[in-house]
């Protein structure tokens, strides 16, 4: 499947881009992370500590174990610091 992957804050900075289109057969969000980490060193570095990573599937905050079936947009980012 084809999904849009978005990165925010220091994840965006470490990976060096804010958005990319990815072809993947990953079943869950963590599976997608594993694929990304295997790609290139900058992805491995960005996703080194999963305790500091949050994810949204189709703009809804979700646990990392969430299935990707039907997802069109997956976003990764550090814990939010609004307000």
């Amino acid at each position: 499947m084809t999904i849009q992957v978005l990165y925010f804050a220091w994840l965006r900075e470490r990976i060096g881009l804010g958005r990319e289109t990815i072809e993947t057969e990953a079943a869950t969000v963590v599976d997608l992370v594993a694929e990304l980490r295997a790609r290139e060193e900058r992805y491995a570095a960005a996703f080194a500590d999963m305790a500091t990573i949050r994810a949204a599937v189709d703009q809804e905050l979700v646990p990392l174990e969430t299935p990707l079936s039907g997802a069109r947009e997956v976003a990764f980012f550090p814990p939010m610091t609004g307000g």
Binding site: F8, A9, T81, G82
Partner: protein, 152 residues
């Protein structure tokens, strides 16, 4: 579904706290309006500016969801949530929430609830730029912990 008016604004522009509060007061049932305003602090004196990144699309959805949840939990007559993004100077306002109700307890509790959720569940990230460089603000564990009190 709740028919309570909800106003969500995500923008790089300043907002007018007085006008926002006055707009929420409309209607004979509103006896109490509570506002919270957050602002760029410069405690150490070295902050040049703050940069606020957000996730367009999800931000509006998250804020509307939080506001709707507040109207489900408390008898409110209106909710306003405004959050800025982009570059903000020390002293600039970052965001505000405002709640209107017949009674003060509901207005106070709903405003505190909105703030707790907004801190940890709305997709905003702050970066502080000082003379020494730029640093992303770390999430405070107490902010995540603060959400626990709304579980019941």
């Amino acid at each position: 579904m709740s028919a309570v008016p909800i106003r969500v604004v995500v923008s790089d522009a300043p907002f007018d706290l007085g006008a926002e509060a006055a707009a929420l007061e409309a209607g004979p049932e509103t006896g109490a309006v509570v506002t919270f305003t957050g602002r760029v602090r410069d405690v150490a004196g070295g902050l040049r500016w703050m940069e606020i990144e957000h996730y367009p699309g999800m931000t509006e959805r998250a804020l509307e969801g939080i506001a709707r949840e507040a109207t489900d939990r408390w008898p409110l007559s209106g909710v306003t949530v405004i959050h800025r993004h982009g570059r903000l100077a020390p002293g600039d306002r970052i965001m505000m929430v405002a709640t209107a109700s017949r009674h003060r307890e509901a207005a106070f509790e709903a405003a505190a609830f909105l703030m707790d959720y907004l801190k940890s569940r709305a997709p905003f990230w702050k970066k502080e730029v000082t003379e020494d460089g730029a640093e992303w603000v770390a999430a405070a564990e107490k902010d995540e912990a603060a959400l626990g009190r709304w579980d019941s």
